[in-house]
């Protein structure tokens, strides 16, 4: 039957002659045949050839992404987040940079986080005074694992849960307790502070690495103006002296101001400039117990 005829059959169907369903007769020995529906498991010999093709594909498949050197180049452009002068010549490079450093950023303290989920938890535990009040009466510290609904009295209890139930590493980088700041504006419950947890996971290496880890330095090539440069600095960037006041001037919808819904699908390539707030004049390293980049402008 020609292919074209078959294809037409796919669209419509001719009427079929009615046939009465026959009774199932038993097979007569020495003949044994009887229609049987067969169920075949993944390891059945009939599937051998198909599996071989599948595995060849797994081993040979190219990705859709070109090797870095082959990616299409665009004319150089700068990250549009004010204060970040990283330059790019591929869109992929920019996308990764932006999504890592500027996507889930706390508008209160400018730290950035690997995911919206961790950012939400950070905001409620660090910047929400209501949280601290409620935490005195009920378990408020949420488990970090998505899908686990447990809550705890303290961040230490949560950490114990993460380690014993979820088999997380004891030095999980994204679960460090908040150190109580002296003169902190927010009232916070004293949290247990384990000095050993400050230790950088990356080891006995140089302070260079530690500095890289703690500070923002989004790229090695970025100029890092002194933190006290609140009154001077390159004209391109705008500085304000107090960060509290300007928390509400953030205009980017994808930056977290409230505990809004996460918007993962948004990957804006061009963003409006934002008024960036410099960190405190003091070296932020010691205050920074949650990871992330603390932008130093």
């Amino acid at each position: 039957m020609p292919l074209s005829v078959l294809r037409r059959r796919l669209r419509g169907h001719p009427p079929l002659p009615p046939v009465p369903p026959p009774a199932r007769a038993l097979p007569r020995p020495p003949f044994a045949f009887s229609p049987r529906r067969l169920r075949l498991g993944p390891r059945h010999p009939l599937f051998e050839d198909g599996d071989v093709q599948r595995h060849l594909y797994l081993r040979e498949a190219l990705t859709g992404r070109a090797e870095e050197a082959e990616r299409p180049r665009v004319s150089e452009f700068c990250c549009h987040i004010s204060g970040c002068s990283q330059v790019f010549d591929t869109l992929e490079g920019y996308e990764h940079h932006y999504n890592t450093l500027h996507r889930s950023v706390c508008s209160f303290c400018r730290r950035s986080f690997p995911s919206g989920h961790l950012l939400d938890i950070h905001i409620s535990e660090w910047h929400d005074s209501l949280f601290q009040i409620m935490a005195e009466k009920q378990n408020m510290y949420k488990c970090l694992v998505e899908g686990c609904a447990e809550k705890f009295k303290s961040s230490k209890d949560r950490k114990d849960h993460l380690v014993t139930v979820h088999l997380y590493p004891a030095d999980f980088r994204f679960d460090r307790p908040k150190k109580v700041k002296s003169g902190a504006k927010h009232v916070s419950c004293p949290t247990e502070y384990d000095g050993s947890m400050l230790m950088d996971v990356s080891v006995e290496t140089s302070e260079q690495l530690q500095a890289d880890h703690m500070e923002v330095v989004p790229s090695e090539s970025m100029e890092v103006p002194q933190p006290t440069a609140s009154t001077s600095g390159p004209e391109k960037r705008l500085y304000k002296s107090s960060w509290q006041r300007d928390a509400c001037t953030l205009s980017l919808s994808h930056l977290r101001c409230q505990r809004g819904p996460s918007n993962r699908n948004l990957t804006p390539l061009f963003v409006h400039g934002v008024t960036v707030i410099p960190g405190s004049a003091k070296d932020p390293i010691h205050n920074l117990l949650w990871t992330g980049c603390h932008p130093r402008i």
Partner: protein
């Protein structure tokens, strides 16, 4: 759909490439028979290092022992050129021995984890690539050494960078298939809920990687007890089905991965765990997958079918098993388009990817259990296409004969059709095939034909079939049946007509 690696450069002629491919296939077959078939995916292999034979990784000389330490120190120390050091390390990690050595060095994995979780995006990406190389190792000890990174891989999957997520997914998939220790960590760390969130991403690259991880997880030996129940409890199944069914238009790579996932789940759910098969059926898997096959069949042609065979294959398997099951029969829409789609698929792939033929015929067997599909096959004139497959191979012959038996078993009207459409001469050819299993199935078919439509017996004798039959009289597994068939065939015509109508009568009396 992602392409396959092609041979790089002029290193070998087409014949050489084919020979090498056959060797690889033979090695994979052997591994499968020994239940040792494990494959991994690798992202971004450097063209220059691939070597002459495009599909094999060039075997790099393992780096000398001192050099591995030096690379590690460079990575730990050199902040100006950390990326450069990481790139050098990544290249070195393409060799198995270097992988093994690296993970044995004190603080090595810890350093990589630290860089992977640092706040410098470029460094992070390079470190991720190094970890990905490690994940590709065929040494389970290397995979186990990567356990400290698993919680971070999951953390970044909840993030936003597509490139990083893709790396994390393929790294996870490779680690998961290699080591049970890794799986035992990942499950309590919440890998299933994370994957369930990721599957709602619109990014094709992420979805394909996700499908890959799941396909590896679902093949674990502990999957039926520990993984499949979690997957079924999540939103994963409905999204998987959705992504498979939209795979013809977009995201074919992802559709392929999820189709294989469904295949692994369907068999277990239906026939092993006895759990929640109702859910799968209520998802509408049978009609959805049937529609998909019909859509594919209306697009392909023998000259333009490349790329879909690895999507069709697992879908055939899912449907085959779904329709072998009781509730499958009830849910089965009696849709004869499925029949047409199967024949188109067999026709289009006969030359290039014959592995689809036996699998299609198996599904056809399950369909032709129902009289509806037997009538449809005959009335839509699909019998010649089926008969054409008879001389193909032992497995295919046996399957075709089985389907013919399904049809013949339905009764006289069907046997009449078979006879009218010239099945007999072809069956006579099958009788001389030197394969007792194939011949045996042919004998079963002849029996049904002689029984329901005696004219076949008469024509059989006229065409000398009884002489061919006599050749098999001394074959142990065939002799009994040959004897009975010869009796049936060589009875005088009047007597045989009488005996067949008395057979019909007795069948009738069984019905009442």
């Amino acid at each position: 759909m992602w392409g396959r690696r092609r041979g790089a450069g002029p290193g070998g002629g087409a014949e050489e490439l084919r020979a090498r491919r056959r060797e690889r296939e033979a090695a994979l077959r052997k591994a499968r028979r020994e239940q040792q078939l494990v494959s991994k995916r690798l992202l971004r292999e450097d063209e220059a290092e691939r070597g002459q034979d495009g599909a094999e990784r060039a075997v790099l000389d393992p780096v000398l022992q001192g050099e591995v330490s030096e690379l590690l120190r460079g990575v730990q120390r050199g902040s100006e050129d950390r990326r450069g050091w990481l790139r050098r390390l990544r290249r070195a990690l393409q060799s198995k021995e270097t992988q093994q050595e690296f993970v044995r060095l004190d603080g090595a994995v810890r350093t990589l984890v630290g860089l992977f979780t640092c706040s410098l995006p470029d460094v992070q990406l390079e470190a991720a690539r190094c970890l990905h190389e490690l994940s590709h190792s065929s040494d389970a000890a290397v995979a186990e050494a990567c356990v400290p990174v698993t919680s971070y891989l999951l953390t970044y999957l909840s993030g936003h960078s597509i490139e990083l997520m893709e790396l994390c997914l393929y790294t996870l998939g490779n680690l998961v298939v290699e080591s049970e220790v890794v799986r035992k960590k990942l499950l309590p760390q919440g890998i299933i809920p994370v994957l369930a969130s990721c599957i709602q991403s619109p990014h094709e690259a992420v979805l394909e990687g996700l499908g890959y991880v799941l396909s590896q997880l679902l093949q674990a030996k502990e999957a039926p007890a520990e993984i499949i129940p979690l997957v079924l409890d999540s939103v994963l199944p409905q999204h998987m089905l959705r992504l498979v069914c939209s795979g013809l238009k977009f995201g074919t790579g992802a559709a392929v991965e999820f189709a294989w996932c469904l295949h692994y789940i369907v068999y277990d759910v239906l026939f092993c765990s006895h759990t929640a098969n109702v859910e799968l059926m209520s998802l509408g898997a049978v009609p959805a997958l049937t529609s998909l096959l019909c859509d594919i069949a209306s697009e392909i042609s023998p000259s333009d079918s490349e790329g879909l065979e690895l999507l069709i294959c697992p879908v055939l398997r899912c449907l085959g098993n779904l329709l072998a099951e009781e509730t499958g029969r009830e849910a089965q829409p009696q849709d004869e388009r499925l029949l047409v789609a199967l024949f188109i698929i067999m026709h289009c792939y006969l030359q290039q990817h014959p592995f689809l033929i036996p699998e299609s015929l198996w599904l056809l067997n399950n369909l032709t259990d129902e009289p509806f599909f037997c009538s449809a096959l005959l009335s839509m004139d699909l019998l010649p296409a089926l008969l054409q497959l008879l001389p193909h191979s032992q497995t295919v012959s046996t399957l075709v004969l089985t389907v013919l038996c399904n049809i013949a078993e339905k009764g006289p009207a069907y046997c009449q059709q078979l006879h009218q459409q010239a099945a007999l001469p072809l069956l006579l050819h099958v009788l001389v095939v030197p394969d007792p299993e194939v011949v045996g199935q042919c004998l079963e078919l002849l029996h049904l034909l002689f029984l329901h439509w005696p004219q076949v017996a008469a024509d059989f004798v006229k065409q000398g079939g009884h002489q061919t039959l006599e050749q098999h009289q001394s074959t142990p597994e065939l002799q009994e049946r040959v004897r009975v068939l010869l009796e049936m065939a060589l009875q005088p015509l009047g007597a045989s007509a009488f005996s067949s109508s008395s057979t019909a009568l007795s069948t009738f009396s069984q019905m009442t």
